[in-house]
């Protein structure tokens, strides 16, 4: 299976230096676990970040040099000989960071897409089985028709970084024809200022019921009734049996 990992021009959120975003490292790990040849694809001039991505296991990174809409450039490049699998991180790090590119690409290519992928399974009859990660550690099995686009979950297992692989990776610059320009994003841009989150919406309850020196049986009864009222015991009945 031929896999392609989309690489953004990522920067480190703290230092601002080029770095591979966490989600793209997870995407490289997923692509390697699927087996076969894995290449990287980046739109724009190559930077240190693309070489670093090689350190996580990519053999070759193609940098597509050409002006205009990245989605159009990628769609033209990917449709020439289409790969089986295109992987991306949850969102880029350093640009618009909206996480829209895989979705726009899937819409343009007419391919199916799944987000939050934790693991890749086997291929059967042109269907790829994947595991999706949900909040609270829940998992969901899904099947998707190949060729497809998968967005990696940020918590998907990441491959180790090997410095020697980063030195030996082949970074190739490919000149492509210009695509139509993207519309200018309006608005005022300025340095980020952290704003406090709303408080009080979850805040400490405080001043609750206090039960002083009850009998143990009475304490247990009150405790259980309180936990039931909070709805903490409803779904855990099944879990307690097979645990």
């Amino acid at each position: 299976m031929r896999g392609v990992v989309l690489l953004s021009g990522g920067i480190d959120p703290v230092s601002g230096r080029p770095a591979v975003p966490r989600g793209e490292v997870a995407a490289i790990g997923l692509a390697l676990s699927a087996g076969g040849a894995v290449g990287g694809l980046h739109v724009g001039e190559g930077s240190v970040a693309q070489r670093q991505a090689g350190g996580y296991g990519l053999e070759r990174v193609d940098c597509l040099r050409g002006g205009g809409d990245a989605v159009a450039i990628l769609a033209a490049h990917l449709s020439a000989p289409p790969p089986d699998l295109v992987l991306a991180g949850s969102r880029a790090c350093g640009g618009e960071d909206s996480g829209m590119l895989p979705y726009l690409l899937a819409e343009r290519l007419g391919w199916p897409l799944l987000a939050g992928v934790m693991a890749i399974g086997a291929v059967a009859d042109g269907w790829l089985s994947v595991t999706i990660g949900l909040p609270l550690g829940a998992r969901q099995e899904a099947r998707i028709r190949l060729p497809c686009i998968l967005c990696a979950h940020d918590a998907a297992p990441a491959p180790p970084f090997v410095f020697d692989r980063a030195r030996r990776v082949v970074v190739r610059t490919v000149d492509v024809s210009d695509a139509p320009p993207v519309p200018v994003v309006e608005g005022v841009e300025r340095p980020y200022r952290a704003r406090p989150r709303l408080i009080g919406s979850a805040g400490p309850g405080g001043g609750g019921t206090v039960l002083e020196n009850p009998e143990p049986a009475e304490a247990a009864r009150v405790l259980l009734a309180h936990l039931r009222a909070l709805g903490m015991l409803g779904s855990s009945e099944g879990a307690s049996i097979d645990a």
């Binding site: 959120p13 969901q140 340095p191 919406s201 247990a220």
Partner: protein, 357 residues
């Protein structure tokens, strides 16, 4: 003596007094309408809006049958964008999903089937939104909501602002460039809201009138999604667990503690002292130098609540404490505090759970 009749202030006051109620209440404007209203419990005032100037859509996930905190904040964001003239239509994904949406600020409610797969969702949403032609669509930046928002924006070609951190009717603000820059711009067509960024609606209750969901033919699916498999409490990462049960220095009977956590389906945590003593693994430590919890409920046995420990409970909604010290800090934080020895309460609770099967 003038011929003017004398006033009787006491009689005037008695005439103005409304009967019933503990505190005296005066109605100087007269009695009309007061007695009839007092006769029964007054129904809450409901704002009905027939023909708003424009619509704003909110897509609300209701995992528990009614909008949770995040869902109410999404409705609040839609209400901010709608202002006084606009109406809010809520697309609710759930089965018995009509409750609490009107209080949240929705004028119309469309219930969507939760079984719709991610691939078909944008088509269904566009069909449901078509009669309203909404000016904005607001969603929560949850894994599912963020996915739907991006699919919807990609399918319809609408502009999107994902993860806005501040919102008013004129501008929305979101971080860009790896959270090192921020951009303020007019609110886009599609917006996603992270948790605790926009306040929920606090005004008068809205009508929340139900509308008929669209009938969209299901096309050949290229994505098949299976059932959700919930995680086992024992294997869940502490930072993600919804129900954490923790042991402090007051717990000596760890067999009962482990048995109880299995029965209750809770993830185990511990205070620093217990981890230092080697009685629980270091990964179970809750607090400033351990894990900060995101749980819904925290059940603390024998924990006094040092400030460094309470820092780990920052986002926990419900705290339940069993402790021998009435003046411990955790008793002040707890919704239910039982002043008793954990060694006695844990076996009693186990017995009660075993009795009930």
């Amino acid at each position: 003596m003038t011929g003017r009749p004398r006033r009787d202030p006491r009689a005037e006051r008695a005439r103005c007094l409304v009967p019933g109620g503990v505190r005296p209440r005066l109605v100087r404007a007269g009695w009309d309408g007061v007695l009839t209203a007092e006769a029964g419990p007054r129904p809450p005032a409901v704002v009905c809006i027939e023909e708003p100037a424009f619509w704003v859509a909110a897509i609300v996930e209701t995992p528990e049958g009614r909008p949770d905190r995040w869902g109410r904040q999404v409705l609040g964001a839609a209400r901010v964008l709608a202002g006084a003239e606009g109406g809010v239509v809520a697309l609710v994904t759930g089965v018995e999903a009509g409750h609490g949406v009107g209080e949240g600020g929705a004028d119309r409610v469309v219930v969507l089937d939760i079984a719709i797969g991610p691939e078909a969702m944008p088509g269904v949403m566009l069909a449901a939104l078509a009669p309203f032609a909404p000016r904005h669509v607001v969603m929560a930046e949850t894994p599912a909501g963020g996915d739907w928002a991006r699919r919807l924006a990609a399918r319809s070609g609408w502009s999107i602002q994902a993860g806005i951190e501040m919102l008013n009717a004129r501008q929305a603000l979101r971080p860009v460039g790896a959270m090192r820059r921020e951009r303020a711009a007019a609110p886009a067509r599609v917006l996603t809201v992270p948790i605790d960024r926009v306040a929920p609606y606090g005004g008068m209750r809205r009508e929340g009138r139900g509308c008929v969901p669209p009938d969209v033919p299901v096309l050949e699916a290229r994505v098949q999604v299976g059932p959700v498999v919930l995680a086992q409490a024992a294997e869940m990462p502490l930072a993600e667990a919804p129900f954490v049960m923790a042991a402090g220095q007051g717990v000596r009977d760890f067999d009962s503690f482990h048995a109880l956590s299995r029965f209750l389906g809770a993830t185990e945590g511990a205070s620093r002292v217990v981890c230092d003593a080697g009685l629980m693994p270091r990964g179970a430590q809750v607090g400033a130098s351990g894990t900060v919890l995101d749980a819904r409920c925290y059940l603390a046995f024998g924990i006094a609540g040092a400030p460094q420990h309470l820092q780990g409970l920052g986002k926990v909604e419900h705290v339940v404490a069993v402790n021998t010290d009435l003046h411990a800090a955790i008793v002040a934080r707890a919704g239910l505090a039982i002043i008793a020895d954990a060694q006695a309460v844990m076996p009693a609770l186990l017995d009660l759970l075993r009795e009930e099967g």
